[in-house]
Assembly symmetry: C2
Homo-oligomer: 198 residues x 2
DNA sequence: ATTCATTATTGACCGCGGTCAATTTTGTGT
DNA sequence: ACACAAAATTGACCGCGGTCAATAATGAAT
């Protein structure tokens, strides 16, 4: 039998990712073209698709890696003790997700996986997001009547709601921050909301 | 000056929409092709793009109309007095949105408008969604410490969260319903959640 | 009826993602 | 060294959304 995976393969894949990264640095995710990637990498078009199922799979990997780096930062800091601190902690990630329509689009498409075996990088980061945030809600100064993971999922939902509305010209006068804060206040401090003194 | 809009125009547009509707009935939104639409309508490809900015604009219109019909139903019924009743009321709309990945995708893309003048049908329905649901939260048996519109936006966010997770193979064992209920319970009945007897 | 500016339609063409049969490269057994 | 099968690469090709200069149809003014 022959070697299952050749060194050549890894080298080519690295070249493709390198080329793609350079393109994003030069312009943006939106303007990334497969034909430009293979041109810079010096390989044929077909080679690209031998390495990535489709263009989105490459973006999935690149964007997933960036999100993971943000989660490293989020997880490394001390657990927030207020909604404001939560928003400060989440800001860099939200800024990235909201930086380009294309990025937001890919994340929305890839937040779900088609089959269990094919859980992509982005989908994985969203599981991780819930794990990281759940820690904040165990014994934190936030509501204790709910499953921490459910609270984390709620924060995720509100984050996307705020970002989606921000991409919408009708109501993008308010910043993502101003939009997210009341959601989180009501979600995480229902008692305080019921009674401002409490 | 000449007539601003010719009868011919309306007729052609109607033929295009008719053809597209027939295709969706025959197959699905996913399999709708512009070339098939113009073939059935008996016009050239360029004509399509003289009537619709792009393919998404047609889908925006078709899907927006369907969502509007669901909102008619939702608005016509009596205001729900429990989370379960809310879910019953929202079920037909959620079933439609979750019926096809393509439908969900178009809605996510078009829930926001690029410019204020270009608020599309789907974006309009989401403003209407908030209006309709806000009515339920004024003087209803739900939390009274929050702006009704904010509560409605929260329901919207959770609806999308539940739908998005449902498209995800990792965790689609739970139904959309089972996923949505705890969110809404915690969102709309924080006091009850704090004290099960209350 | 004829002119003429405006509007609608046409279809060849392009961009770009994605496919696949043919070809080349690679590592292993002899 | 050589043969050979598996793996990697190639590039012509396709599908389909979208463009645009050229052409045709329309209706108002005369």
């Amino acid at each position: 039998m022959t070697t299952a995976i050749q060194p050549r393969t890894l080298k080519t894949r690295a070249r493709l990712i390198e080329a793609a990264t350079a393109i994003v640095e030069d312009s943006s995710f939106t303007e990334l073209r497969v034909e430009e990637v293979v041109r810079r990498a010096g390989v044929a078009k077909g080679t690209f698709f031998a390495h990535f199922k489709d263009k989105d799979a490459l973006l999935d990997r690149m964007i997933g890696e960036i999100i993971d780096q943000h989660l490293d930062q989020i997880g490394a800091g001390a657990a927030p003790t207020s909604v404001d601190q939560i928003m400060v902690a989440l800001t860099p990630l939200m800024t990235f997700i909201g930086s380009e329509r294309e990025v937001f689009g890919v994340i929305l498409r890839y937040s779900g996986a088609t089959t269990v075996e094919e859980i992509g990088p982005i989908a994985a980061t969203f599981e991780r997001f819930v794990l990281v945030l759940s820690d904040w809600f165990i014994d934190g100064p936030f509501r204790q009547d709910a499953d921490p993971a459910t609270l984390a999922e709620g924060v995720q939902a509100f984050m996307f709601q705020a970002l989606a509305l921000n991409f919408c010209a009708i109501n993008n006068q308010r910043s993502v921050h101003d939009r997210l804060r009341p959601y989180l206040e009501l979600w995480l401090h229902p008692a305080k909301a019921l009674d401002p003194q409490g």
